[in-house]
Amino acid sequence: MPAAEPLQRPASPLRMAWAFNRMALQGFGGVLAVAQRELVERERWLTKTQFLEVFSLGQVLPGPNIVNMALIIGDRFFGWRGAAAALLGLLTAPLLIVLLLAALYREFVGLPAVAGALRGMGAVAAGLVIGTAVKLLGGLRDNPLGRLPAAAVALLTLLAIGVWRWPMAAVVLGLGGASVALAWWRLGR
């Protein structure tokens, strides 16, 4: 059973950078699923429970989730050197690839097939984002806010940001603040 196998410790920050580099290069449309497989099942640096803990922490903290996770994991094993190694491993190669694509796109934007392909990919990108949200909607069922208030906050956010185009700072601080306050009150009862 995999559960009986002991956890490993990454040999060095460099080793860690390579592992995060490998994860990033496999992650089309997000790195999270790959990260779970690599960190928990292949490298065995974290247990499933530890992975979930780091994931929720990475989600609660502002900033990109997977970047936060890389920082936290790197920091736990090697301090700031580990955090820097994980971050550089995660971002360097994909950054070069994406810039190359962007530069090529500028050269070939005049071709109708390329412009059309990007339109098609743009529509799929929108669908992927909406689909991810739909998958996560079930998670609101057990929210301490209660189903109806939680759904109302989600809907209000969609309208305020997507349709009325209010600035995000106002929505996160105002609506988010009210929502957190309500959750605090509900949790205390």
Binding site: L61, L95, G116, G122
Partner: protein, 186 residues
């Protein structure tokens, strides 16, 4: 060379601090992933400043989605399209410096307080907001294709495939590219 370094728009250097500051502020608000800041970026860059067109903004996100790696990298493509490599440096530094500093400090400090009422209230209260932001992001990304039935049909098709099947997103992105290349999303 200047076109590579500073982009094709001939923007003055005041653009870079403005990019750094706005992306830095957004990174601190980005609860639930980098993509949730896309609607506000679009509002600021396309609507308020006019540095990018709607189509340029959505294609920046599409290029980043088509490449491997964290979704965050769409920020680099946006920077590239506004001001070349200098723009990449400004948007990436803005998106990473404040949030990474905060994440490191908070994870060290918050390790012991994860079970506290405040932390629980924070994650519970922010969860529906995060979902609303994701939905708004998806809606804003459909802006440049709302005039085409072919492209608009791709959106619910993608949602359905993602939710109901285990197919990898890369195949959906590839299918979207092929359908678009044949002119069916125009």
């Amino acid at each position: 060379m200047n076109a590579v370094l500073f982009g094709a728009h001939g923007l003055d250097s005041g653009v870079l601090p403005a990019l750094f500051l706005h992306f830095g502020m957004l990174s601190l608000l980005a609860i639930g992933g980098a993509l949730t800041t896309a609607p506000d970026m679009q509002r600021y860059l396309v609507g308020e400043r006019g540095w990018l067109s709607d189509a340029q903004f959505t294609s920046s996100v599409a290029i980043a989605q088509a490449a491997p790696g964290p979704n965050l990298l769409f920020v680099a493509v946006v920077g590239w399209n506004i001001a070349g490599l200098a723009g990449v440096a400004a948007t990436m530094a803005g998106s990473l410096l404040p949030s990474t500093t905060l994440a490191l400090a908070a994870s060290r400090y918050g390790d012991r307080r994860r079970e506290s009422r405040a932390m629980k209230a924070f994650s519970a209260g922010m969860a529906p907001l995060t979902l609303g932001l994701l939905l708004a992001t998806g809606w804003v990304l459909t802006a440049p294709v709302r005039d085409s039935w072919g492209a608009l049909l791709l959106v619910p098709f993608t949602v359905l495939m993602l939710v109901k099947t285990k197919i990898s997103p890369i195949w959906l992105v590839g299918a979207g590219a092929a359908i678009g290349a044949f002119g069916w999303a125009g």
